[in-house]
């Protein structure tokens, strides 16, 4: 078991890649704190994990609120005594032509996908400095490396996450805090509409979509001691899409 007695806080932990990662972390011995805006899904998933005899706690929080983020960590520490791992994963995205993108919509996307990631990372670092170390995995995207039409705000924010990851990693490397990012390609989650799946598979050199479980395995590697000499890395898990 790679995460025996570790405590992992996962934002966007109620569904998708966050939930799949929580499942894998629990099977590797971790206690998980599921942070999400969606209370219904979050509570149901907490119950599901507890039914498997896992230690899990759901916390409703908006990662763009400094108070909510601080409260999430407080509750995690009250429940489990510490936070060793943070999977900084919550995010949103929508496709829309940029000339029609309202400024409010731009700000909302960047607020969640970049500011929110910073706020969670900042709180994590504060706790990890006290504890003497830890690991953070940010969810960026392959669109932190390449562009695409119709996703200006999302892509700008994800590019920001890639360089935020590098910069924070360099700043805290000597304090035993490792910070890496996961950059998923096209993944088979409900975010991708059924009618797009075939075309996106065909566009990927492996001729298939990635699976949420495959993202979870990459996150486990980055979060565990198996990646002890890696920091600042943005690991691209896209079946080869961005190499084209």
């Amino acid at each position: 078991m790679k995460l025996q007695d570790k405590v992992a806080l996962i934002t966007g932990g109620a569904s998708g890649i966050g939930a799949e990662t929580a499942r894998l972390f629990v099977s590797e011995g971790a206690k998980v704190v599921l942070v999400d805006l969606n209370e219904e899904k979050g509570k149901a998933f907490e119950a599901e994990l507890k039914a498997l005899n896992a230690e899990a706690l759901f916390v409703k929080a908006n990662i763009t609120s400094e108070e909510d983020v601080a409260a999430s960590f407080r509750q995690a520490i009250e429940a489990f005594g510490k936070v060793d791992i943070v999977f900084n994963n919550a995010g949103i995205g929508r496709v829309q032509p940029s000339h029609e993108l309202e400024y409010a919509e731009w700000r909302h996307t960047v607020n969640v996908d970049l500011d929110g990631v910073f706020l969670v990372a900042r709180e994590a670092i504060r706790e990890m400095l006290k504890a003497g170390g830890g690991t953070i995995v940010n969810t960026a995207s392959m669109y932190g490396w390449v562009g695409s039409p119709g996703s200006a705000a999302y892509n700008a924010a994800k590019g920001g996450v890639v360089n935020l990851t590098r910069s924070l990693a360099l700043e805290y490397a000597e304090q035993n805090i490792r910070i890496n990012a996961l950059c998923p390609g096209f993944i088979d989650t409900p975010i991708i509409p059924e009618e797009s799946k075939q075309a996106l598979s065909a566009a990927t050199p492996m001729k298939r979509l990635g699976k949420a479980e495959e993202m979870a395995k990459a996150v486990l590697f980055l979060a565990s001691d198996d990646s002890s000499f890696m920091t600042g890395n943005s690991l691209i898990v896209d079946g080869g899409y961005t190499a084209q």
């Binding site: 990693a169 360099l170 590697f221 002890s228 896209d238 084209q244």
Partner: protein, 261 residues
């Protein structure tokens, strides 16, 4: 998840020391059958005895071969398939550091020698292993590039050219073979304390190489050399089924060093 390599066959070049040896030990502990290739047959025996200690049940064959010799590469791949019937993971790792001096003094022969081993050797390995993996419909290849394959280091023209070449090959062939369920990735180790890096430090100052090493890692964000076993963990992850969707990409393992410049 502790036995990611039960029933799997892993082929490793440059297995007599450093990253190759560390990776061999890691995958052997997790159940792999191993075909180990190196030019140095004596040192290869040392890897075998270390495996016998760490994983007494591991099946291991040793093959002495020069990766720059295409015929020898064809033979090591054939021998592996004859013995084990398949190849699930290929750590295409053998390489040399070459001389260190300015480009105008590097020398044509030295350049050719370094490219022959570090780049042509990797290409030959892929040529023969990909045929096997394509027929199987599965497999993972991990090529050893270097931070010197994604950044300029200086005084290493042959090494830099060959390692940048390995990154290019990885991207190119990953695009081609993904459709067959085969993934190809490169790792880019930075300052890892291997016999090869020790050799480089001794080139800089034979009498004071340990002091030179300390200065060498001073700019590293983690302020230390990586250990071969840390690269072994990464290579094992990438060779396993856990990393099937990681393809045609290069993964630095350098304590954050390449993100600084």
């Amino acid at each position: 998840m502790s036995n990611r390599f039960d029933g799997k066959v892993v082929l490793i070049t440059g297995a007599a020391s450093g990253l190759g040896q560390a990776t061999a030990l890691q995958v052997a502990k997790e159940g792999a059958k191993l075909s180990l290739v190196d030019l140095n047959s004596g040192a290869l025996e040392e890897t075998k005895s270390k495996i016998a200690e760490a994983a007494p049940n591991a099946e291991v064959i040793l093959i002495t071969a020069n990766v720059a010799d295409e015929k020898a590469v064809e033979s090591y791949v054939n021998e592996t398939v004859e013995k084990f019937g398949r190849i699930d993971g290929f750590f295409n790792n053998a390489g040399i550091e070459g001389k260190q001096n300015p480009t105008e003094d590097y020398g044509i022969e030295e350049f050719q020698k370094v490219v022959d081993i570090n780049l042509n050797g990797v290409f030959y390995g892929m040529k023969y292993v990909l045929k096997v993996m394509k027929e199987q419909g599965s497999g993972s290849i991990v090529n050893t590039a270097s931070v010197g394959g994604i950044r300029g280091v200086g005084n290493q023209s042959g090494y830099a050219a060959s390692k940048h070449g390995v990154v290019g090959l990885t991207r190119n062939s990953g695009i081609e073979y993904g459709q067959y369920g085969v993934s190809i990735k490169a790792i880019a180790p930075g300052a890892i304390m291997t016999p090869m890096v020790e050799g480089s430090l001794k080139q800089m100052d034979p009498d004071n190489w340990e002091e030179v090493g300390k200065q060498f890692v001073e700019p590293n964000p983690m302020k230390r050399f990586g250990k071969p076993e840390e690269v072994g963990y990464l290579a094992a992850f990438l060779l396993s089924d856990q990393a099937n969707f990681i393809n045609a990409t290069v993964i630095p393992i350098d304590g954050g060093q390449s993100y600084k410049y």
